[in-house]
């Protein structure tokens, strides 16, 4: 676009700037109706795409009335149990004209089926739909934890969605390979690039090898993909071109920009050399970004406004590696759920960047910059080496099953936390410059975050039950049987899922069929083998205290680390588990998705001295109190319970009143101190011993 012959140096350019990226806000809560109202008001404010947050039961495939769903309905997103919920969610939003990103993975095929069915009910056509299903299961095993099925079955589902959409919903992005969550789980930029490329390669390789053997009859008829044999080159290029990425953007925004450039170049290189693709358009890396949420601080939270803007700059600054869509978190996410006003500020940040600044008026600002090019090359070289390493061990699926990637992430994350503890890494307001006046933004207390109405869960369950009773039971049973038959026969899952959506099958019923056929899966935690970092003086001191207390207790201090509910963000729990082990404790870590009953059973059977619960989904009010009550009922009331999570101060006080001994929030970054307090709490509880 430049040079601009008609613009003088001292006046505004008259040629039109480049079209901006899509503005989205990751949102959804309480109910389909409440979320629909939120979407419509966001669109009215100039948002250009939607990004749907589903609640954890929907993400993991449970209906709102399932026991595991208790306390989680409508918490981190919107509950969608059936087609009527989906229709309500998009009421008065014509899907043919919308671009919708759905953060959905294990149940991606189902939510896409509901989306297609809803569009058809609106009188639209699947062929015109645009949007994205996240559909990247590998990172769920590594970070986010909302997986449902074993890796092999998950890869099959992913590739079936790809082959279905390439043939039938040509503008859909069937998979968003996520490096976002890898960074959240601790990945360095090099790991972020290498592991996400490995994920994409494992998918492409399996598609190329299978040649879409599972294409259903109507797919074959469409002729876009061959029913068997190797994919034709043109098809492979088309599939390659439909794969998009979802990146994270941290605060080191110069390096982050270089990361985006490195990924763009490496992706093109992989397309050319590994898959023989020559079409320039198909080789272009397309990616969306959510800037880093976990790096947002609870201390002096207004600082996050600046962090978010700088992080947004990192992924938009370089024209040749610019994000296609961007969603910014709200400044107060470390405190709780953001209000509409907080989300509006994030949208305005994007609009200022795109419309007020001159960012979009120039070609790439960094072409020819030695500094940027050197850093980009360094990242590329290191990422290529790590990628080859993962491929040599059999690719991403093998590196999930042998826990290699997970261990590497846990190690990097541990190193990062150490650096914050030691002060080697500066986090303003957290480990440096902590002096502050009272912030008027947080003085308001609870009113500065959004509270999900506790009656939302009950209302959702009532409406689900009403839906079940009004649908045609015979049609539902037939649809379920046909779905199961199709999966067992190796046919593409999409057509029978769309039929099931229309027949009134629920999210839980659909997933139940898949659980029956594929089995359930528990991914390796990666903590057992992760190597301990060098001990700091504070660590040695804690270790001595653990030894002394263990002597007094007669047994080594034993702790249960548990994650109640459906929240799969296990990074915090894993860091605590590793730290406790290194402090000399015996640690029982049971992994994610446990009911309060199961946690109490573990605590009793294992004879632990203390229970640590981690919960980030906001359902602490229900689940933690339930664990404490059940401990008392089981005669284990003397065993102290501590809790960590995103817990507003009012809730923390309520938990303490219910019997919780300590509550930790994201501002408690000093793990050595937490370990010391756990020793205190156990010593206190065993004073008589």
């Amino acid at each position: 676009m430049s040079p601009r012959p008609d613009s003088r140096a001292d006046s505004r350019p008259v040629s039109r700037p480049e079209k901006p990226w899509l503005f989205r806000t990751y949102s959804g809560h309480s109910s389909a109706r409440a979320s629909n109202a939120l979407y419509r008001s966001n669109l009215a404010k100039g948002q250009t795409g939607l990004s749907v947050a589903f609640d954890l039961p929907t993400q993991t495939g449970y209906d709102s009335d399932h026991p595991l769903a208790r306390g989680e309905v409508g918490k981190v997103g919107v509950p969608i149990c059936h087609i009527d919920d989906m229709q309500t969610l998009f009421d008065a939003i014509p899907l043919e004209q919308m671009n919708t990103s759905m953060t959905i993975n294990a149940t991606a095929a189902w939510l896409l089926a509901l989306y297609v069915a809803t569009a058809e009910r609106q009188g639209g056509s699947a062929r015109k739909l645009r949007g994205t299903t996240q559909n990247d299961i590998i990172k769920e095993y590594l970070s986010r934890g909302t997986f449902g099925f074993p890796p092999e079955a998950s890869m099959r589902l992913t590739s079936e969605i790809v082959s279905y959409t390439v043939a039938n919903v040509p503008d859909w992005n069937p998979i968003n390979v996520c490096s976002y969550h890898l960074q959240e789980a601790g990945a360095t930029p090099v790991q972020e690039i290498a592991f996400s490329m490995a994920n994409a390669i494992s998918l492409l390789d399996s598609l190329r090898a299978s040649g879409d053997l599972r294409a259903s009859g109507d797919l074959r008829a469409s002729g876009d993909l061959r029913a068997s044999g190797d994919l034709r080159d043109a098809d492979l290029a088309k599939v390659f071109g439909r794969i998009s990425f979802f990146l994270n953007a941290g605060i080191r925004f110069v390096e982050e920009m270089c990361k985006c450039r490195a990924m763009t170049a490496l992706w093109e290189e992989i397309g050319r050399t590994r898959y023989g693709i020559t079409d320039e358009k198909m080789l272009r890396l397309r990616y969306g970004v959510q800037v880093n949420s976990l790096g947002l601080t609870e201390a002096q939270p207004e600082n996050n406004i600046v962090r978010i803007a700088l992080e947004a700059l990192g992924v938009t600054l370089s024209q040749r590696a610019r994000a296609r869509s961007l969603q910014l978190p709200a400044w107060n996410e470390a405190l709780g759920l953001p209000r509409p006003w907080d989300q509006q500020l994030s949208l305005r940040t994007q609009q200022i960047l795109a419309y007020e600044t001159d960012l979009l008026e120039y070609d790439d600002l960094f072409d020819g910059s030695h500094v940027v090019e050197r850093r980009t090359r360094e990242l590329m070289d290191a990422a290529r080496a790590e990628l080859e390493n993962v491929l040599a061990m059999g690719g991403a699926v093998a590196a999930v099953e042998n826990a290699y990637m997970k261990q590497k992430l846990v190690e990097s994350h541990t190193a990062r936390i150490r650096a914050i503890e030691s002060g080697a890494l500066t986090v303003v307001g957290v480990n440096a410059y902590r002096e502050t006046v009272e912030s008027p933004l947080v003085q308001a207390g609870t009113s500065s975050i959004l509270k999900v109405d506790e009656s939302a869960e009950r209302a959702q369950i009532e409406s689900l039950r009403a839906f079940r009773s009004r649908r045609n039971a015979a049609e539902v049973a037939t649809a379920i049987r046909q779905l199961e038959d199709a999966i067992r026969a190796g046919q593409n899952i999409m057509p029978p899922s769309i039929a099931a959506a229309k027949a009134g099958v629920t999210t839980g019923e659909w997933t139940e069929v898949l659980r029956r056929v594929f089995g359930e899966y528990r991914a390796p935690t990666g903590v057992a083998a992760s190597s301990a970092a060098a001990a700091s003086p504070a660590d040695s001191q804690v270790r001595e205290r653990v030894d002394a207390l263990s002597q007094r207790l007669g047994r080594r201090l034993k702790i249960l680390v548990g994650k109640p509910g459906l929240d799969g963000h296990s990074n915090g729990a894993e860091q605590i588990a590793v730290k406790a082990r290194d402090a000399g404790m015996e640690v029982v870590y049971d992994g994610i998705r446990l009911t309060p009953e199961e946690i109490v059973q573990s605590a009793r059977d294992e004879g632990v001295h203390v229970v640590g619960l981690s919960i980030l989904s906001g359902s602490h009010g229900v689940l933690v109190v339930d664990v404490v009550e059940r401990m008392k009922a089981a005669g284990l009331g003397a065993i102290p319970v501590v809790v960590g999570g995103i817990i507003p101060p009012e809730d923390a006080r309520a938990l303490e009143r219910a019997g919780v001994r300590r509550v930790y929030t994201p501002k408690d970054f000093d793990l050595a101190r937490i370990m010391g307090e756990i020793v205190d709490v156990v010593a206190e509880a065993n004073r008589a011993a």
């Binding site: 057992a528 270790r543 082990r581 402090a583 000399g584 640690v587 059973q601 059977d605 294992e606 004879g607």
Partner: protein, 330 residues
């Protein structure tokens, strides 16, 4: 309920009644190193001695052989047959710090969360020998409360021998791999187990070959009547294949032990071996000789049939210490 609020004999009665909270407290007690608690532990163990209804089964094999998955499948299979299950998983991952991440419960999967399955993990801690004492006592507690008790250990070689001292049946879980036979023979694994299970039979060719090699090795290495040689089964714990056959083989082994009297013989021999090795660990060969050696040990055990192994160890130890103290004083 605080641990001090009930007497050890009350606790024993509750354990025998299958009270899971009591089982947990009893396991805490036998693991407790404080001398004041040690006396209570001995009363508890004496009260449980000879009462254990549960069959004790050891499960061993190299890391990665799929022991936890197999345990999960076995527990599920036994629950389906209406039997309760107690599991003691010995985790070798402890560190210099003394800390350990006990991951077996997680690897077990769903059955560890079944209300009819009791699962306790135990860190290997400082030394294998000390562990054997706690593990032996823990198995006594579990066997008093549950129908079937499993002890899971990682090991190739040495540790099988000590696990064999406190179980009725030892199962070796083998993973298909080329060139296994030599490894098995070198490690001395062929000597102890009563049942071999070649896991991951989905790796077909390799699994068949490993099973064949094991059978050949047993023909060479174990002198018994071919009919008495341990069975070599194969299956896939992950897919639930061959689990029923394995449970049947375990039951058959128990039935045979009952029929031949091997059951009693092995329990007695195991008990003696545990007592002997504990005394040697504490007082050395010299100390054991001062007590009159193995014959005196056998005589003492025969004279006190109702005492637990731990009780015998402490009684003989006290005798040695008293004698030593008396002789060294002027």
């Amino acid at each position: 309920m605080s641990e001090g609020a009930e007497s050890p004999s009350e606790l024993a009665a509750r354990v025998k009644a299958g009270d899971r909270g009591a089982v947990a407290r009893a396991l805490n007690l036998v693991d407790d190193r404080r001398s004041a608690r040690r006396a209570d532990a001995l009363v508890l163990l004496d009260a449980l001695e000879g009462q254990g209804r549960g069959r004790r089964i050891g499960l061993t094999g190299a890391p990665g052989a799929g022991k936890s998955t197999l345990l999960d499948a076995l527990a599920t299979g036994l629950r389906a047959r209406g039997r309760t299950v107690g599991i003691l998983a010995v985790d070798p991952s402890s560190r210099k710090s003394g800390g350990a991440l006990l991951g077996d419960r997680f690897r077990m999967g769903a059955s560890a969360r079944d209300a009819g399955v009791f699962f306790r993990s135990l860190a290997a801690r400082d030394q294998l020998g000390g562990l054997a004492e706690v593990a032996g006592a823990s198995v006594e507690v579990l066997a008093a409360a549950f129908d079937v008790v499993f002890v899971e250990t990682v090991g190739v070689g040495q540790s099988e021998a000590s696990v064999a001292d406190f179980v009725d049946t030892l199962v070796f879980v083998a993973q298909p791999a080329a060139g296994d036979l030599l490894q098995f023979m070198k490690a001395g694994i062929l000597e102890w187990p009563d049942v071999f299970f070649v896991n991951k039979s989905d790796l077909e060719g390799l699994a068949t070959r490993t099973a064949t090699e094991l059978r050949a090795g047993l023909d060479l290495g174990r002198g018994e009547d071919p009919a008495d040689r341990p069975p070599v089964l194969s299956g896939s714990a992950r897919d639930g294949v061959g689990i029923d056959a394995l449970i049947d083989a375990l039951d058959a082994h128990h039935a045979k032990q009952d029929r031949t009297g091997e059951f009693r013989r092995r329990r007695e021999a195991g008990r003696l071996a545990r007592i002997e090795s504990a005394l040697v660990r504490r007082y050395g060969r010299f100390g054991l000789a001062r007590l009159g050696g193995r014959p005196a040990l056998e005589a003492f055990v025969a004279a006190h049939p109702a005492r637990s192994a731990e009780g015998v160890i402490d009684a003989l130890g006290a005798r040695f210490e008293a004698g030593f103290a008396a002789k060294s004083e002027p």
